[in-house]
Amino acid sequence: MNKGPNLSSLLKGQRATITGIHAPDGIRHRLQAMGLRTGREAEVVRRSRLGPMQVRIGSVNLIMRRRDAARVFISLSPAR
């Protein structure tokens, strides 16, 4: 099983570096194409109470369900 923090656990305003995506090929491909690539920094802009979250990667803003965000593994960036 995969251990370690994933994107869905980040709080509003937190940033982290993407370390990998654990998902079937098709889904992984899709997430990567939308900008969720290993090595890039992701920031959680907002989270809704029950629904999706907004994530910023560079110039792109995405809304994604937590279920999908949980597939994106991260390492926490040092606080700035």
Partner: protein, 595 residues
């Protein structure tokens, strides 16, 4: 004729560019290997007529989403001389790999970098020469919204088209299956040719989102916005629909009827009451489709539709729909037809089909007319609003039940990840063109079906012989009696069954049909209705009318949007079954309880 295909990611202004390049001459059409309609147009570029095709926005040439497969199979089956790749200047880091994917296929590619104005404001500097050298293809930087740099981009395309030779499709197919390492190359190239702030924060968008996506006020604001759009579409639409009807009627009475008088009665009836009324039914949808897409384009182009998805996703995810489906469901309460067409914003086919299965349960304004008429005739003024409210609740319940049941089978395994574009002011021209395209699409795809249906119902209710429309001796009347074993248990009489057949064509003509069948009006008509059914039968009748097939035009649209008779059959069977079961349950339970 040489062919130019426009590709790019969503939110790059692809359609804006396409529309600026082609004007209003574009049309939808079928293509080999592709299961959806694509927009294309013929334009003169550099003295030659060329064909421009607008492909769906995709994130990846090698992806597995429905749209990505469409684009790939288009590329594999249709020879294209030049590919115009639209990139968003503010997101080059994110988008360049797609341009590389294409140029590495060995096809002639022109990189069209749009939104130069926004990039400028955000402090993004792009060295087009360095990019062009790195990509080994021409690069143009422009703004499709404002037109700056557009002529140069046109020139670049024109030159590329002149030089281009067709590419072997076989070769292309092979190449499409093998390429990699583009991302790293793209990143190196970006470092050499683009300088941008490390984090692009759009102040205005952030500020607006802080209010519109607010955890507490966001959702109420969404419903308010929807209410406004709804009101705008249907308060403006109703008088327009009336005037179209008035014009058509005037034309019939003043010009057509006197001219056709020379014809034998049977042919006269067929032409004037059958065919012409069928055309009238089609025409009555035109104003509301134009208005609907005018306002939906505003909602979509401004960037708000993606926000609506964010706000309503918590509920929609449980139903297997996404928030955009919810917007369409709400709009369906005005008219189902444009709402069904609007589901095209959803790019996953299974999610679209599910939304199209759900939308017909929205209690549209045509059904509301029937219910208002019946409730005022048969219920006390204090009860009537409660009955209407109850019908709205049933409408929502049926929609949610359908989503829950069919959501299991139409489950989409696509991740729900949506780009949140910055807020932009919609371009008027763009918004108007959208309405025009949708109307021509509707006329082309649905009109034959609707006219045929209207004519068939006319035949049923007038032949073989009969004194009154749908009366004794007509097919419709016989059908009504044959159906009585099914309709008796839900309290619907044979005469009312004939009315249901009219209602199948359009709910707008139900009241007119009752008037025509009985020859009664006003209080006398209300009195007649009271002899036909008691209040319980009326409730059963209205539940049935609410849930069984909305109208012929809805079916025609479901068919043209899904391209599948199988889907339409499932939808019809399900709504008929649900309508009968609900009416049966309510009617028999209430009878059993002694009402």
């Amino acid at each position: 004729m040489k062919r130019l295909a426009i590709v790019g990611m969503p939110n790059t202004g692809k359609s804006t560019f396409f529309n600026r390049l082609t004007g209003s001459s574009s049309r939808v059409g079928n293509w080999p290997g592709v299961t959806v309609d694509l927009l294309s147009a013929r334009v003169v570029l550099g003295g030659n007529v060329i064909e421009v095709v607008d492909l769906p926005g995709i994130y990846d040439l090698h992806g597995f989403s429905d749209d990505e497969q469409i684009v790939r199979s288009f590329l594999e089956n249709n020879p294209v001389e030049v590919y115009g790749v639209i990139l968003n200047a503010t997101q080059l880091d994110h988008q360049l790999p797609m341009a590389l994917q294409l140029s590495q296929l060995g096809v002639k590619t022109v990189v069209l970098i749009n939104m130069a104005d926004e990039a400028d404001q955000l402090g993004v500097r792009i060295d087009t020469q360095a990019l062009s050298a790195g990509l080994k293809c021409p690069v143009a930087l422009f703004s499709a919204r404002h037109g700056s740099g557009f002529n140069e981009a046109r020139e670049t395309l024109s030159t590329a088209l002149e030089q281009a030779r067709p590419v072997s499709l076989a070769l292309l197919r092979k190449e499409l299956h093998a390429d990699d390492q583009l991302v790293e190359y793209a990143e190196r190239l970006i470092q050499q040719s683009v300088s941008a702030p490390t984090r692009l924060v759009r102040e205005t968008t952030e500020r607006i989102d802080r209010i519109l996506l607010h955890p507490v006020v966001g959702l109420p604001l969404f419903f308010l916005a929807m209410l406004l759009v709804f009101q705008a579409v249907y308060t403006l639409g109703a008088p327009l629909q009336d005037s179209v009807a008035w014009l058509l009627e005037g034309f019939r009475d003043m010009a057509l009827a006197p001219l056709a008088k020379v014809l034998p009665a049977g042919l006269y009836g067929f032409l004037i009451d059958g065919l012409y009324d069928g055309i009238g039914t089609v025409a009555s949808f035109v104003p509301v489709i134009i208005l609907f897409f005018f306002f939906m384009a505003l909602v979509e182009d401004s960037g708000y539709l993606a926000r609506a998805a964010y706000l309503t996703d918590a509920l929609m995810a449980r139903l297997g729909l996404d928030g955009r489906g919810f917007v369409m469901l709400l709009m369906g309460f005005g008219c189902n037809v444009p709402a069904l067409m609007g589901t095209r914003v959803m790019r996953s086919r299974s999610m679209r089909l599910l939304s199209m299965l759900v939308i017909p349960f929205s209690l549209c304004s045509a059904r509301l007319q029937v219910f208002v008429f019946i409730t005022t005739a048969l219920f006390a003024p204090s009860q009537a609003p409660l009955v209407l409210f109850g019908l709205y609740l049933v409408s929502f319940a049926a929609a949610f039940l359908t989503a829950l049941l069919f959501g299991q089978h139409l489950k989409s395994d696509e991740p729900f990840v949506l780009e949140l574009p910055p807020y932009r002011l919609p371009v008027l021209r763009q918004v108007l063109l959208r309405g025009w395209h949708e109307v021509s699409h509707f006329l082309k795809r649905a009109s034959t079906f609707i006219v045929t249906g209207v004519v068939m119902v006319w035949l049923l209710t007038h032949y073989p012989a009969g004194g009154t429309i749908g009366g004794e001796g007509t097919f419709a009347n016989m059908l009504g009696y044959w159906l009585s074993p099914i309709l008796d248990p839900i309290g619907i009489s044979a005469d009312m069954a004939v009315i249901l057949m009219f209602g199948f064509v359009a709910k707008e003509i139900v009241i007119g049909a009752i008037v025509a069948m009985t020859g009664l009006n006003g209080d006398a008509l209300n009195g007649y209705l009271a002899t036909q059914m008691d209040s319980l039968q009326a409730i059963s009748f209205m539940l049935f009318v609410l849930l069984y097939t909305p109208c012929l035009s809805t079916l025609a649209t479901q068919r043209s949007e899904s391209r599948s008779w199988g889907f339409v059959s499932v939808s019809v069977a399900w709504s008929l079954g649900l309508a009968w079961s609900v009416s049966f349950g309510v009617y028999q339970t209430a009878r059993w309880l002694g009402y």
